[in-house]
């Protein structure tokens, strides 16, 4: 299953935040979306998961325009973990995860044994099974984030859209969440801040700046010292680590805004 944005622009209160961006996630590909704060990553993702409407262009799943699908239909195929916003009502962790089953249910159908099993499995994957009866609002930021991922897992989708999924998480759970997502074998589009995590997990990246794609390609080809300098305005060194065999980025202190 593939998802892509075709020349999507998004305008918010008269300002164009995203300008003709085309990104594509091929079947089972792990795609990273990079860019500094305010570069339009979140806005682009929101237009992909239908919270914002593009002012031009289209978002397609397997070539079919999502505007022609019901919300339920797109929710059966695309799961989302976004940055958590506050909620005024409380639910238990288990109830929260079970809501991931909503797109597969009709108004009157009950939660079946199967739904509970799926929810339980999702909680186990994010290592939160012991929390199933806890109230969601009493959880820490990182725990909430893992529950939201569990909810998206319970949705059993073929495409996951993640907006900074590792926010609020300590390093153990950053790696755990990325491992879980990677192991699902589904298409992933993730906005990420951490370049090292990007290098560890992403097959392909797009780099956004001021609402436009400034670079794209296989992760290791794109993340270079020159690009980081150009996009994030910091100096760094990109090296191959002898143990992992992967590239990693080391930043230099005091390098902001110097040079060029």
């Amino acid at each position: 299953m593939e998802i892509e944005s075709k020349g999507v622009s998004v305008t918010l209160s008269g300002r164009e935040i995203v300008h003709r961006v085309s990104v594509q996630v091929k079947d089972r590909q792990f795609v990273g979306l990079l860019g500094p704060n305010g570069s339009g990553k979140t806005t682009l993702l929101k237009s992909i998961y239908r919270v914002l409407k593009p002012s031009e262009g289209a978002v397609c799943i397997d070539g079919e325009d999502i505007r022609r699908m019901s919300y339920r239909e797109s929710a059966k195929r695309t799961g989302v973990v976004s940055q958590f916003t506050s909620m005024s009502f409380d639910f238990s962790v288990e109830e929260m995860v079970l809501m991931g089953r909503a797109p597969h249910k009709t108004a009157l159908s009950r939660d079946t044994e199967e739904d509970y099993r799926i929810a339980e499995e999702a909680l186990r994957r994010v290592d939160m099974l012991d929390f199933r009866d806890r109230s969601f609002l009493t959880l820490s930021g990182g725990e909430k984030q893992r529950i939201l991922l569990a909810r998206a897992l319970a949705q059993q989708v073929e495409i996951l859209v993640l907006d900074e999924p590792t926010n609020h998480l300590d390093i153990k759970y950053q790696i755990q969440i990325m491992d879980v997502v990677k192991s699902l074998g589904v298409g992933v589009l993730a906005a990420l801040h951490d370049l090292n995590l990007t290098l560890m997990y992403c097959d392909y990246v797009y780099v956004l700046k001021n609402g436009s794609v400034v670079a794209e390609g296989p992760t290791e080809d794109v993340i270079t010292e020159a690009l980081i300098r150009r996009v994030y305005e910091v100096d760094c060194s990109v090296q191959r680590h002898p143990k992992t065999g992967k590239l990693h980025v080391v930043f230099f202190p005091g390098s902001v805004g110097k040079g060029e």
Partner: protein, 361 residues
């Protein structure tokens, strides 16, 4: 594999049955109480005969006489009306809170109560015949109250849509309070220039709500409308749960938020308007009952909605009993009772702290 039959769910399911039993019991017991005490046996006999034609004892007293009149034509419709209105307001409160994602919302949030007050005050203080001729002039207070409620609702929706953009809860709440104070100003103006003590009393009486007018023929319409409304919402619990998660989460879980929010708001407001024009403005029930029930049943609408509905019915039946017996030979407006009971309970819940009014502490 652990069975999904969760202990909590069993408990809440049982509670629904218990509350259903309590509601039936409340109906039977409350018909006994009043200026003329009537034995449970007579109440049971008369209600049974008139609903199922099963005669117990002297058949003549089942369809004639003072006892029959009081039980079947005065108290029973009144108690049923209290139950219907209580169920409706509680359900509308729960749905409205979910729809605008604000635990402080009540069924009147779209200006229903202020619009209805304006309409009713106009009808009582000035009188429709002073300004209109023909059909409009002949319409009673209930008509003007309903009209006022719909007018206010339309205005709120219009204001909330103004300036484009999506329909957000904040816009609705603000538009609701703007229309509320506008209608309030006109209502007060009419009362002030009216200066007629008798009319003023009937306005006050109307605004505070009463079940006094209940009769079988007047009960049919609201009963049917509200019954369908409540049944509709009982099928919507899954969508309602999703709405509580917030706009964005609802969309990503496949709920067409804009569409459902509009449908729910219009449906609850219409139901509230029907309730208001039937028996005046009964305050606090639609706000308080959902909170109290959420305090022990949680936010899951599969349990919250039926439990709140039953609690609302039971609560209003007993509030109405108090309204008619507290002062002998006189009636207290039911809104006074609901607020007088509701406020201390609310304070207790605030002090108890374990309940965060929907949010975390």
């Amino acid at each position: 594999m652990k069975s999904h039959i969760n202990r909590r769910h069993v408990l809440l399911g049982t509670l629904i049955l218990v509350f259903l039993g309590l509601l039936v019991l409340s109906v039977l017991l409350s018909v006994m109480i009043g200026a003329v005490p009537i034995s449970l046996k007579d109440v049971y006999r008369i209600i049974l005969y008139n609903t199922t034609r099963l005669a117990i004892g002297d058949a003549d007293t089942l369809t004639h006489g003072t006892l029959y009149e009081i039980v079947w034509n005065v108290r029973t419709p009144r108690v049923i009306m209290a139950a219907v209105i209580g169920v409706t307001l509680a359900v509308c409160g729960v749905v409205m809170q979910a729809t605008v994602q604000n635990p402080l919302a009540d069924p009147y949030i779209l200006g229903i109560s202020s619009g209805a007050s304006l309409g009713a005050t106009f009808s009582i203080m000035i009188g429709a015949s002073a300004l209109f001729t023909g059909v409009l002039a002949a319409m009673g207070t209930a008509f003007w109250a309903f009209g006022g409620a719909l007018g206010a609702m339309g205005l709120v929706m219009l204001l909330a849509h103004m300036g484009g953009g999506r329909l957000t809860s904040a816009k609705l709440v603000l538009a609701g309070s703007v229309v509320g104070s506008l209608c309030g100003a006109f209502t007060n103006m009419m009362i002030y220039i009216g200066q007629d003590a008798e009319n003023m009393k009937s306005v006050t009486y109307w605004l505070l709500g009463s079940m006094v007018s209940a009769r079988w023929d007047k009960l049919a319409m609201p009963g049917i409308c509200l019954g369908f409304g409540v049944l509709f919402f009982l099928t919507q619990t899954r969508t309602l749960n999703t709405l509580l998660l917030g706009d964005e989460a609802a969309v990503t879980l496949g709920v067409n938020l804009g569409k459902w929010r509009r449908i729910y708001m219009i449906a609850t407001s219409l139901m509230a308007a029907v309730a208001v024009c039937t028996c005046g403005i009964v305050g606090f029930v639609g706000l308080m009952i959902p909170h109290i029930v959420r305090g022990f049943a949680g936010s899951d609408h599969r349990f919250l909605l039926p439990l709140a509905a039953l609690s609302g019915g039971i609560f209003l039946i007993w509030a109405d009993v108090i309204a008619r017996v507290l002062i002998p030979k006189s009636e207290i407006p039911i809104g006074v009772i609901t607020s007088a009971i509701g406020a201390p309970i609310f304070v207790y819940m605030m002090v108890r702290k374990s309940y965060g009014f929907g949010g975390a502490d």
